[in-house]
């Protein structure tokens, strides 16, 4: 192969078997898609053979490719085995496509690098003053925040003054005298609610009920009255024992 001989017999200059194959394919000086695969296989095998004749160390992957190409060549030349998939033609086509794709990317890379590049061929402004963003803080506080803060400070620093508020309660003493007095008039079982005073606010009425209940327990303990209830939480009845 005269063409192959013009390529330097130096495996170092190739980036692997595919690169070498592409280099050999280019010597056919035709569209990559129209190259003769059989011719390319022969070129490759000759190249590897001559490299070995020169006693050059040939890397394993080049030999693997050589073996695969030798297989491809024989498959292309020998009678078809219809069971064989992929077919040798398909394998050959795929190899052509791979070479075309590598070639295309190599070409694209070269075209990319040849473009007018920023900072090498084209330039942005040499001394831009730049755009500034001045940040300012707007402090936020409402009048309520202000007086509430003063209230907080004052509450913290002023002498603490305790004022006990008058609470609406009926004391146990009052309840005892009320219930004792009312029992004197009652003859039969009477519900405890009947001993409640009329009117008054709700809190005071609840206090009166609680105190009257305690008063009833106290009077029962003294043996002055009897208590009766059908079930837990059922109405509570009182009756004088006198």
């Amino acid at each position: 192969m005269a063409d192959a001989d013009t390529l330097t017999i130096s495996l170092d200059s190739w980036e692997g078997p595919l690169d070498l194959l592409l280099g050999l394919a280019r010597t056919q000086k035709v569209d990559l898609r129209a190259i003769s695969i059989l011719e390319l296989v022969d070129q490759y095998l000759d190249f590897i053979a001559s490299a070995r004749d020169l006693k050059l160390e040939v890397a394993a992957d080049y030999l693997v490719m050589a073996a695969w190409l030798a297989y491809l060549k024989s498959a292309l030349l020998l009678p078809r085995d219809p069971e064989e998939t992929p077919s040798p033609e398909e394998l050959a086509l795929r190899l052509t496509l791979r070479l075309a794709r590598l070639d295309a990317m190599r070409e694209a890379g070269a075209r990319l690098m040849a473009r007018d590049r920023l900072g090498r061929d084209v330039f942005t402004r040499g001394c831009p003053e730049g755009l500034q963003t001045i940040r300012r803080t707007r402090w936020d506080a409402s009048l309520y925040d202000l007086i509430a803060a003063y209230g907080r400070v004052s509450a913290r620093s002023r002498p603490v003054l305790h004022v006990v508020r008058q609470r609406p309660v009926m004391t146990l003493e009052t309840a005892l005298s009320r219930v004792s007095a009312m029992l004197g008039e009652a003859i039969d079982w009477t519900a405890i609610e009947c001993f409640m005073p009329e009117g008054g606010e709700a809190l005071w009425r609840r206090s009166a009920l609680a105190s009257s209940f305690l008063a009833a327990l106290e009077l029962a303990k003294q043996g002055r009255i009897e208590l009766a209830q059908d079930a837990p939480f059922a109405p509570l009845y009182l009756r004088s024992l006198a």
């Binding site: 755009l131 402090w139 004052s154 002023r158």
Partner: protein, 192 residues
């Protein structure tokens, strides 16, 4: 915009890419010739008159710069709203109620030290100002509020601030949670 001649275009690009104003001799070095530079600069000056950037001459040097009337666009002001810290608002409240007041007095009322940054923030906000020195040993600086303060808080004068009794009536001296009173009648009456 009529496309300029080649020499003018070249000078335009050289001036734009330069890292500083250029003298005619420096332009000539880049251009590789001395001819016609003055005319080209004149043409560029006219071309850019009234645009967003202008060609200007400073002494012997030429450069492009942003049109002076557009300088405000190059600085963008951004306002960030921030809530005043608890220390900040308490210090401000004490100054408002007690002015003029020294830092030591503020600390005595707050019961905690006042960081320098707190006073700075209130000054920066324009709400307080130094209000002379107290004629006591050490002559400490006093602080008072400003008209900006009244403005911000919608007050006609400092007298509009609620007094202690009003604060108490408004429950602001009494941090007891009213909801608690409903639940536990026993706690009732523990007023402070």
């Amino acid at each position: 915009m009529t496309p300029p001649d080649e020499r003018t275009r070249a000078i335009e690009a050289i001036l734009f890419a330069a890292t500083g104003p250029l003298a005619v001799a420096e332009i000539a070095t880049h251009l590789g010739e001395r001819e016609g530079i003055a005319e080209a600069l004149e043409r560029l000056r006219t071309d850019y008159a009234g645009r967003g950037l202008n060609l200007v001459q400073r002494g012997e040097h030429w450069h492009f710069e942003t049109a002076g009337d557009l300088a405000h666009l190059l600085r963008r002001d951004r306002e960030d709203s921030r809530k005043l810290s608890r220390a900040g608002i308490e210090t401000l409240a004490i100054i408002a109620y007690h002015e003029p007041v020294t830092r030591a007095e503020i600390e005595a009322i707050r019961g905690v030290q006042v960081a320098k940054g707190t006073i700075d923030v209130l000054m920066e906000a324009g709400w307080i100002r130094p209000a002379g020195r107290r004629e006591v040993p050490g002559r400490p600086l006093t602080y008072a509020t400003t008209p900006v303060f009244l403005d911000h808080f919608g007050l006609a004068s400092r007298r509009d601030l609620p007094g202690i009794d009003e604060l108490r009536a408004a429950g602001l001296l009494d941090p007891v949670d009213l909801a608690l009173e409903q639940v536990s009648v026993e706690k009732d009456g523990e007023d402070d």
